[in-house]
């Protein structure tokens, strides 16, 4: 019996590399060697940009060029953000609608709790007012007196999980400077890390590189707030094991200089609520997790605290 020749299908040429085709798509992509050289060249350029960026100071030419690009793009970003806001709000409303049902019972209980707390707070506020006048309380109102407020809005939300940073529509022209604290609704958001003429980059508390010296208002236990296991949780580190900290305690900025970390924030800005506390015999410090008071996923309006003595 004669051997049957293997049947060849039209699929086979599709799997071949372009170099094996007589002509055709190879022309579309240009020479493979040229393509490889172009890709290799651009990879080298990217690596060179990274190297130069990290080696030069913040006033270097690459930083300067980037600030110029940002200044050019900012009006477009702000315009696009303004145009898209209704659509994003509509999307957010729809998404919230689905999640609202499940949260309803939980929120009802929370409302009851809050109502009770409001009554307590009103009583405490009245009491506080009396105590202030009696003891000539030295600290002023909640807003730090050495600072001015620059109200602005977020124009670029965090782009990746790695860099929890936002862009705001206020820059050096508005008096914003590097290391200025940023708050929203009186709660801590982060610090300004870079400034252009009309915009600034803010590193959020949920970034890996953020840290703030803080203390627990109820007990005075001091520590350092850093990012937790995800972008929605924080941890209070370096709290001595003998300190008393419980769930529900409020953590605020210490506003002082510790030996390890210089605080950039004024004293008393609320940061988070303690959600769990644990400790082991082998640990030096307590393990404290807390939930930020700021909803970083829906950050729209913020206030940059600019120092009065900066200018």
């Amino acid at each position: 019996m004669a051997p049957v020749p293997r049947q060849r299908t039209a699929r086979i040429p599709l799997l071949r590399s372009p170099a094996t085709r007589a002509d055709g798509p190879r022309q579309r992509g240009g020479s493979p060697v040229r393509a490889r050289l172009v890709a290799l060249g651009l990879v080298l350029v990217s690596l060179a940009l990274l190297t130069v960026y990290f080696r030069e100071s913040s006033g270097g030419p690459l930083h300067g060029a980037q600030r110029i690009v940002v200044s050019v793009l900012t009006p477009f970003e702000a315009g696009a953000e303004r145009v898209s806001r209704p659509f994003r709000d509509a999307y957010g409303w729809t998404a919230d609608l689905f999640s609202a049902k499940g949260e309803n019972a939980e929120l009802r209980a929370e409302v009851e709790e809050l109502r009770r707390q409001v009554i307590l707070n009103q009583t405490a506020a009245q009491e506080n007012e009396e105590l202030r006048s009696l003891l000539e309380y030295r600290d002023g109102p909640r807003f730090p007196k050495d600072y001015d407020a620059v109200a602005t809005r977020v124009i670029v939300p965090p782009q990746t999980e790695f860099r929890q940073e936002v862009m705001v529509a206020a820059g050096s022209g508005d008096g914003v400077a590097v290391e200025d604290p940023v708050v929203t609704d009186g709660n801590l958001v982060g610090t300004v890390t870079e400034v252009a003429s009309n915009s600034a980059k803010v590193r959020l508390l949920t970034d890996q590189q953020s840290a703030a010296s803080a203390f627990v208002t109820q007990t005075g236990a001091a520590g350092i707030v850093e990012r937790g296991s995800s972008t929605t949780s924080l941890v209070l580190e370096r709290v001595q094991k003998e300190e008393a900290v419980e769930e529900g305690h409020i953590v605020v900025t210490a506003g002082s200089r510790s030996q390890q970390l210089e605080s950039l924030f004024p004293r008393g800005i609320p940061i988070c609520v303690v959600t769990s506390v644990s400790q082991r015999d082998t640990d030096f410090f307590k393990r404290i997790q807390c939930t930020p008071l700021v909803d970083f996923d829906s950050l729209h309006q913020v206030i940059v605290l600019t120092r009065k003595d900066a200018g």
Partner: protein, 173 residues
């Protein structure tokens, strides 16, 4: 590619980067975010080959990094290689099938996630890899596959394939 087409591609990239950072990134579905820039880059590379794919990837990355005041070069490095690979992938397949764009964008999404993780790790960033690969990557991949079909068709209209290439693709198919 003519200078006119190159200018059109660059203009589209700028517009898409603005669209991405202001509108698309805040859209979160099951922890994932669609990547319009990556979908367009893959579509362009599939249609125009690895050289333009690499160049477009480089500029897209540079624009994304600049718009967010991030270190320039991180996204460029990853997207250059993504664009080059997608172009090579396009040469080895046919444009008449809807599958290559979907396969290409799925693989490119995984590559970008892995690439950014590695580059950020090498730059000394603490990388929440578990969160990224456990919760974010899969929905992002699904969203990118979903948007790829319209993006590819639109890119095909804006950058039409030459009749000779189309005929060859049809014959090969």
């Amino acid at each position: 590619m003519s200078w006119g087409e190159a200018a059109k591609a660059l203009g589209l990239l700028v517009a898409l980067v603005l669209l991405q950072i202001t509108i698309v990134t805040p859209i979160e579905v099951a922890n994932g975010h669609p990547d319009l820039v990556l979908a367009f880059l893959v579509a362009l590379a599939l249609l125009r080959g690895p050289t333009l794919g690499a160049v477009a990837g480089f500029w897209a990355g540079l624009l994304l990094d600049s718009a967010a005041l991030a270190p320039p070069g991180v996204s460029s490095l990853v997207l250059t290689l993504a664009g080059y690979w997608a172009g090579r992938f396009g040469l080895a397949t046919t444009r008449s099938s809807p599958h290559p764009p979907i396969i290409a964008v799925a693989l490119a999404t995984v590559w970008v996630a892995v690439g950014l993780t590695v580059v950020n790790f090498l730059l000394g960033q603490s990388v929440p890899a578990g969160e990224l690969f456990g919760r974010v990557l899969l929905p992002t991949l699904a969203l990118n596959v979903l948007i790829m079909f319209p993006v590819y068709r639109l890119t095909e209209r804006l950058f039409p394939v030459a009749p000779r290439d189309r005929r060859e693709a049809t014959v090969l198919a």
